[in-house]
């Protein structure tokens, strides 16, 4: 019997759920939060068992209000799936804030004189085309993250602040486009060395194509998806219907990519268009894409104001699903509030769980109204000696021995779904690039969610309110298939 924990079950907003009758949509029962909490009220002290969940009600604040329950953590995902909109907050105990001196593990850096840095050349494939703008990261001590990094120039040349012949524990190269990322261990870096990256073949079956190649191009029609990111496009393979730049001080109409490429990559995974002689296309090519840029030019940080404004704008624009491949840091009430308001207006937020290989998952994916997505990969969908090949982690799926949990992905009891996020080829400014991350798994799930919801005739007639959002989350989660990774890694499973 796994160890149980205490949780507070709360309505979507506030401490008491407003009256809402249980509804039946298309023969599927949607139990309102009000009904659910009211049903638990007389069960104080008793254990409530459904086919998927067993919980013990310990206390109740009001008949239709918050409940203190005890259950095993693996039931959290099932409860979230059964009752979307219900907030599940683990019971925490605060300690007095006593200031104590602690030993910090420091690092002594001794100066070693070297006459010059080591010069490398990075090229792509046999044609030796220079890999311009590639980030080269050399770790002399990987555990302590000590080393040198630099970016290649237009000719693919780079100088690292290391002595020639220096042994490098790990060497990573992250090209901007046209090639796979490079990873190697225990490399003796020598002056004048040339490193060739594996070029991207647009016929290659990467992990997204492995799962979703079989689908037709009409997937996602009628569903509006808002990508809240670094901006998306322009790109010949992307149709961006509109959007907004919500960064303060920048032009609102400048919602294209800020130069980082992340938002364009995310958008392509959702709905890149199918072109002749290319295998690369989005999971839901007929979904309507809208771009909301929240990262300023040259910045990898977004203000919660820009994010809240983007969520608000996307809801006004009629977006059904929001893709948020961003996160980290403490829970932010402004973003949390915006996600909650979006939900109450029938728009759902699907968020990346984070790439810190940590438990729990990062905010905003940890928000009880967000759908949190972890990343999986599959051996055979990326070449060797690439950054993708380095992401092979545990556990392995019981349904497919080649399927693995990505070693960078966060995990925990708040996970809702998993999706392909290792070695994903997609659109980037100026061409195509490969990226790894829960940032990539998230749009793959968003694309599938768009396909699933596009097939729902009931959704089109529904009023844009909390019940609609609840129906959308339930319908999407019901489409998941368990891979045998365990609930803390895959939640309800993958949309395959």
């Amino acid at each position: 019997m796994p160890s149980e924990q205490q949780y507070i079950l709360l309505p979507t907003r506030g401490m008491q759920a407003p009256f809402a009758a249980a509804a039946a949509v298309g023969g599927k029962a949607i139990n309102s939060i009000h009904s659910f909490l009211t049903q638990l009220h007389p069960a104080i002290g008793a254990t409530t068992v459904t086919p998927n969940i067993s919980l013990r009600v310990l206390d109740s604040i009001h008949e239709n209000g918050a409940k203190l329950v005890q259950m095993a953590p693996e039931y959290v995902s099932a409860l979230r799936a059964a009752q979307p909109g219900l907030r599940l907050v683990p019971v925490v105990y605060y300690r007095p804030a006593v200031a104590r001196y602690k030993i910090e593990s420091g690092m002594t850096v001794k100066s070693v004189s070297v006459s010059t840095g080591v010069k490398l050349k990075v090229v792509i494939g046999k044609t030796a085309q220079p890999a311009a703008g590639a980030s080269v990261v050399a770790f002399t001590d990987f555990e302590q993250r000590v080393g040198a990094e630099a970016t290649t120039d237009a000719k693919g040349n780079v100088t690292l602040a290391l002595a020639s012949g220096k042994k490098v524990e790990r060497l990573y190269i992250y090209p901007k486009l046209a090639a796979w990322g490079y990873a190697d261990k225990n490399v003796s870096i020598k002056n004048g060395m040339t490193i060739a990256l594996v070029p991207i073949d647009l016929q290659y079956q990467d992990v997204v194509r492995y799962f979703y190649d079989r689908f037709h191009d009409d997937g996602g029609a009628g569903i509006k998806v808002g990508v809240i990111d670094t901006g998306s496009g322009p790109h010949p393979d992307l149709n961006i219907a509109g959007g907004a730049n919500t960064v303060v001080g920048e032009k609102p109409a400048d919602y294209g990519d800020n130069g980082e490429g992340h938002g364009t990559h995310v958008a392509g995974i959702i709905a890149a268009q199918h072109r002749p002689n290319r295998r690369i296309r989005g999971v839901a090519p007929s979904a309507e894409l809208r771009s909301y840029r929240v990262f300023a030019k040259g910045s990898d940080k977004a203000s919660n104001y820009s994010i809240a404004k983007a969520i608000d704008r996307a809801v006004q624009d009629g977006c059904d699903i929001l893709n948020m491949s961003l996160g980290g840091g403490p829970v932010d009430e402004a973003t949390k509030d915006a996600i909650s308001e979006a939900y109450n207006q029938g728009t759902i937020s699907i968020c990346a769980a984070g790439n810190d290989a940590a438990n729990p998952i990062s905010f905003p994916s940890s928000d009880s109204l967000a759908v949190a997505v972890t990343a999986i990969g599959r051996v055979g969908t990326f070449p060797g000696h690439t950054t993708s090949a380095e992401a092979v982690g545990k556990p392995k799926a019981t349904t497919d021995p080649k399927l693995f949990f990505a070693n960078f992905s966060n995990y925990g009891v708040d996970v809702d779904l998993t999706g392909p996020g290792v070695g994903v080829i997609s659109t980037v400014p100026g061409g195509f690039g490969v990226m790894d991350g829960t940032s990539m798994a998230c749009p793959a799930v968003v694309g599938m969610a768009a396909r699933i919801l596009a097939d729902s005739t009931l959704l089109k007639g529904m009023k844009r309110d909390q019940l609609r959002a609840q129906y959308m989350v339930q319908t999407v989660l019901a489409g998941a298939k368990k891979l045998g990774l365990g609930a803390t890694y895959e939640g309800q499973g993958a949309l395959l």
Partner: protein
């Protein structure tokens, strides 16, 4: 001074008279008012509390930043070297 997000929690768009009261408050500077229900302001926290006491439909949040979910490895400290 930190920036704060002021969000109107009432019905409809933010009322113009409330926006003007916020604008005229001591040491307040509105940085952005393009959102229908929000403002981004630069203001001292103590003045902010005072202004919000007279505007019960408004809520303040400190401005924070959120990062991209980037799995790329990064250097935290330079290697032992000098005079390159």
């Amino acid at each position: 001074m930190p920036n704060f997000i002021l969000k109107f929690r009432g019905e409809g768009p933010k009322p113009a008279d409330a926006v003007e009261r916020i604008r005229s408050a001591p040491l307040f500077r509105i940085l952005d008012e393009s959102s229908p229900r929000m403002l981004l302001v630069d203001a001292p926290e103590e003045n902010l509390q005072q202004v919000l006491e007279s505007l019960p439909d408004w809520k303040a949040y400190p401005e924070q930043t959120i990062s991209l979910e980037d799995p790329r490895h990064q250097i935290k400290a330079a290697s032992k070297r000098a005079k390159v």
